[in-house]
C-alpha cells in the first residue's frame, strides 16, 4: 500500500512556480528522499504533504486520506520535523517533548524519544541554550513522540557535525527497521545515497530524476569520474580529445572528466599536464555519485 501519493502538485508564489507539477508515490516502509539545491521546492512540497501549506493545484493522499479535505486523522499518525523549528525558548528539552506528547493520543515514553536522538545529557537545558545541532535533534525527537507511521524530516542533518549526522542516519535506519515510512529532504547526496530507497532529484520545482540512487547513477553513468582543479585551465578541447573521455564538466574551477577507461585517460592526462607544464591540484578518481547525476542534468552542482 502507498503511504504518500502526490499528483501534479503545484505551488505558485507571485510569478514563481516554486513547485511545478510534481508527482510521485511513496510505499509504506520506504525511505524516500528529495534531493535538490536551495530553493528547489523541497520544503514547499514537504509542507504541502504535511497539510501546512495549501497547493494551488494537485492531489495529495497520505495513508489513504485526502490531505486537502481531511487532515485531522492524518495528524495523529505523522511526525513532522520542520526545516526550522522554533519552540518556547525557556522550556527545557524534557518539558518541550512532554508538551508535544500531550497533543497526541498515543505516545512513546518521553525518555525513550530523547534517548533516540542522544539528548539525554540535555534534558534539563532550555531550548535557547541548545546548540543548533542539538536543537535540530530535539526537533526530530518531537517528530517521533507520537510513534508516527510516517516521519517527515526536512533537512534533518543540516548543521550537524559528522558524528551527529551519522547518529541521525542510525535513527533513520532504525525507523525503517521498525517498518516506518520516512520522507526526508536533503542536499547531501551522500546522505541520499546512503539512506534512501528512492530519491527524487528536484530542481526549479520539478522532478528531474526519480529512482533508486544506484539506478540513477548507473542509468546516467557507465563512466568513472576523474576530478581535479587546475589553475591554468587546460584547454577543454584537449581534455575532450583524451582517450576514453566521454564528457567534460567544468564547474566552480573543478574539472570533471567522465571516463570509460580510467588507466588510459589518466596516463594521457598526466602526459598532457607534463606537456603543458602545469600542475593539477586535488586529483581524485571516484565512482559517479548523485552529485554527478545532478551536474549532468542541470549543468550545476547541488551545493553552491
Amino acid at each position: 500500500m502507498t503511504a504518500i501519493q502526490v499528483e501534479n502538485l503545484v505551488k505558485i508564489y507571485g510569478s514563481l512556480r516554486a513547485v511545478d507539477g510534481i508527482s510521485f508515490e511513496v510505499a509504506k516502509g520506504e525511505v524516500f528522499g528529495m534531493l535538490g539545491p536551495n530553493g528547489a521546492g523541497k520544503s514547499t512540497t514537504t509542507e504541502m504533504i504535511e497539510g501546512l501549506r495549501k497547493p494551488d493545484a494537485g492531489n495529495i493522499h497520505v495513508l489513504g486520506h485526502d490531505v486537502l479535505k481531511n487532515i485531522e486523522p492524518i495528524k495523529q499518525r505523522i511526525g513532522i520535523q520542520l526545516q526550522t523549528t522554533s519552540l518556547f525558548q525557556k522550556l527545557t528539552t524534557r518539558e518541550l517533548v512532554k508538551l508535544f506528547a500531550s497533543f497526541f493520543k498515543n505516545t512513546l515514553p518521553i525518555d525513550e524519544v530523547i534517548g533516540l536522538v542522544n539528548l539525554e545529557e540535555k534534558v534539563n537545558t532550555a531550548s535557547k541554550d541548545l546548540s543548533g545541532g542539538q536543537r535540530q535533534r530535539l526537533a526530530v525527537a518531537i517528530a517521533l513522540i507520537n510513534d508516527p507511521d510516517i516521519i517527515f524530516l526536512d533537512e534533518p542533518t543540516t548543521g550537524l557535525d559528522p558524528q551527529a549526522r551519522r547518529s541521525m542516519w542510525d535513527v533513520v535506519s532504525n525507523l525503517q527497521k521498525r517498518g516506518k515510512t520516512v520522507f526526508l529532504t536533503t542536499h547531501y547526496m551522500e546522505e541520499a545515497e546512503r539512506l534512501c530507497d528512492r530519491v527524487a532529484v528536484v530542481d526549479h520545482g520539478k522532478i528531474i530524476a526519480l529512482g533508486k540512487p544506484q539506478t540513477l547513477i548507473h542509468d546516467n553513468f557507465h563512466e568513472t569520474a576523474l576530478e581535479f582543479s587546475d589553475d591554468e585551465r587546460l584547454p577543454e578541447q584537449l581534455l575532450t580529445s583524451l582517450p576514453a573521455v566521454e564528457r567534460v564538466q567544468n564547474e566552480d574551477g573543478i574539472t570533471t572528466l567522465y571516463s570509460t577507461g580510467v588507466a588510459r585517460t589518466t596516463n594521457a592526462l598526466m602526459a598532457l599536464v607534463e606537456q603543458q607544464q602545469t600542475e593539477l591540484r586535488g586529483f581524485t578518481i571516484r565512482a559517479a555519485t548523485l552529485e554527478d547525476v545532478f551536474l549532468k542534468l542541470t549543468g550545476r552542482r547541488i551545493r553552491d
Binding site: 495528524k75 495523529q76 526550522t84 522554533s86 525557556k90 522550556l91 518539558e95 500531550s102 497533543f103
Partner: protein, 375 residues
C-alpha cells in the same frame, strides 16, 4: 493538553526576567515611589463660602458641622486631618456667588431658607453645593464630606426616612490621599500593559518565529491553544492586581471602599478587554517591529490621557472627545468609582457597556483578521 500548554506558558513567562519585571515589579516600584511621595497627603487649603438662609435650628447645625472640619478630634494627629488648613467664610448668596465666579472661593454651600420648616413638617429639602470644577481633587472630596455631614444631621433629626439631600451627590472618605487616587490608575495601567505587552507581543513572536506553525503540525486544536493563552494572561492579570492591591494595602493602607466582588468583576472585564485588544494588535501586526510600534502607539496616549495620573476632566474639550474613545478611560473611571467612590465621569452602566463593546468588537475583529502563518 490544556494543563501542559498552560504550564508551558507559565514557565516561559516566569523564566523571562523582562516580562516579570514589567508585569510585577514595575507597577510595584511605581506604587512605592508615588506612595512615598503622596502618602503624607497634600492638605486642602481651599476657601469655602457658606450661605445660611435657614432661620430654623437645622441650618446652623449643618453650617457649623461643615466649619468644624478644620478641627481635629482629640487624640488625632492634626497632620492627618486633610481639612485642617481650609478657610470658611459666611455671607449672602449674591456676594459669595460672585467670589466663587472670580475664583476667590473654591466651593459654596447654600442652605436655603425654610429648610428647617420643611423638614419638621415632614417634607424633604436639599442643600446645594457648588464646587469649582477646576479643583479636581478637592471637588469630589468636599462634595463627599458635605454629603456625609448632611446625612448624619438628617439621621439625628428624622430617625426613619431621610429628608435632607444634597444636590451634588458623591461620597468620599475624608482620609483619601494621593496614593489612594493613584492605585486604581496603576491597576488600570498594568492591566492595559498586560494586554499590550504580555498578550500581543508573545503572540506575534510565536507566529513570526514559527511556533504557531509547529503547533499547527500537531493535532492540537487552535481553540485549545487560544483558550490556554487567554487563561494564562488572565492568571497573570489577576496575580498582578492582587499584588498591587495587597502591597498598596500593606504598605500604604490604601482605601478599597466599594464591594470587593464588584471590584473583581470590573478587573476581570477590563483584563479580558485588554487581552482582546492585544489579540487585535497581534492580528494586524505582521512583524514584531510593527507590533512594537502599534503597541507603543496605543500605550502612550492612553497612559497619559486616560486618567491614570491626572483626571480626565482637566483636559481641554477637544482632547476630552478623544479621550472618551479610549477604553482605558472607562477602566480607570470604573476602578476609581468602586475603589474610592470617586465622582463618576461615566455611569457604571456606561463603563460596563463601553468596555463590553470594546471586548466584543476587538474579539470579532481579531478572529476576522488573525493570521496563523507568518507569510
Amino acid at each position: 493538553m490544556f494543563v501542559q500548554l498552560y504550564l508551558s506558558q507559565w514557565r516561559e513567562f516566569s523564566r523571562d526576567r523582562m516580562a516579570l519585571f514589567f508585569t510585577i515589579l514595575f507597577p510595584l516600584i511605581f506604587i512605592s515611589i508615588f506612595g512615598l511621595l503622596y502618602s503624607g497627603g497634600s492638605k486642602f487649603d481651599e476657601k469655602v463660602g457658606i450661605v445660611l438662609e435657614d432661620q430654623g435650628p437645622i441650618g446652623p447645625q449643618i453650617a457649623s458641622a461643615i466649619e468644624g472640619l478644620t478641627k481635629t478630634p482629640d487624640g488625632q494627629d492634626p497632620d492627618e486631618n486633610v481639612f485642617s488648613d481650609m478657610k470658611f467664610s459666611r455671607g449672602t448668596a449674591n456676594e459669595l456667588e460672585a467670589q466663587l465666579q472670580n475664583g476667590d472661593l473654591q466651593a459654596l454651600v447654600i442652605i436655603p431658607a425654610g429648610l428647617s420648616d420643611s423638614i419638621t413638617s415632614g417634607q424633604s429639602a436639599s442643600v446645594t453645593v457648588k464646587v469649582d470644577q477646576t479643583s479636581q481633587v478637592f471637588a469630589p472630596f468636599f462634595q463627599g464630606v458635605v454629603d456625609n455631614i448632611i446625612a448624619s444631621v438628617d439621621q439625628n433629626i428624622t430617625q426613619s426616612k431621610p429628608m435632607l439631600t444634597m444636590q451634588v451627590q458623591s461620597v468620599l472618605s475624608s482620609q483619601i490621599r494621593g496614593i489612594d487616587l493613584l492605585i486604581p490608575g496603576i491597576l488600570a495601567m498594568s492591566i492595559m500593559q498586560l494586554g499590550l505587552f504580555a498578550t500581543a507581543q508573545p503572540m506575534i513572536a510565536m507566529r513570526t518565529q514559527g511556533v504557531l506553525k509547529r503547533f499547527n503540525a500537531t493535532p492540537l486544536p487552535r481553540w485549545m491553544l487560544l483558550i490556554s493563552y487567554v487563561a494564562m494572561r488572565l492568571t497573570i492579570g489577576l496575580l498582578q492586581t492582587i499584588i498591587i492591591i495587597a502591597v498598596g494595602k500593606l504598605m500604604f493602607d490604601v482605601a478599597i471602599l466599594g464591594n470587593i466582588f464588584v471590584l473583581i468583576g470590573w478587573l476581570l472585564l477590563s483584563i479580558l478587554m485588554f487581552i482582546a485588544i492585544g489579540f487585535f494588535v497581534a492580528a494586524i501586526a505582521k512583524t514584531e517591529e510593527s507590533g512594537n510600534a502599534i503597541t507603543q502607539l496605543i500605550n502612550f496616549p492612553m497612559l497619559f490621557l486616560s486618567g491614570v495620573f491626572f483626571p480626565v476632566t482637566g483636559l481641554p474639550d477637544w482632547l476630552q472627545v478623544v479621550v472618551k474613545a479610549f477604553p482605558l478611560t472607562y477602566t480607570v473611571d470604573a476602578l476609581k468609582q468602586v475603589m474610592i467612590n470617586a465622582p463618576p465621569i461615566s455611569t457604571p452602566l456606561v463603563n460596563l457597556l463601553v468596555q463590553a463593546a470594546w471586548l466584543i468588537v476587538m474579539t470579532v475583529l481579531s478572529i476576522r483578521f488573525f493570521k496563523w502563518e507568518a507569510r
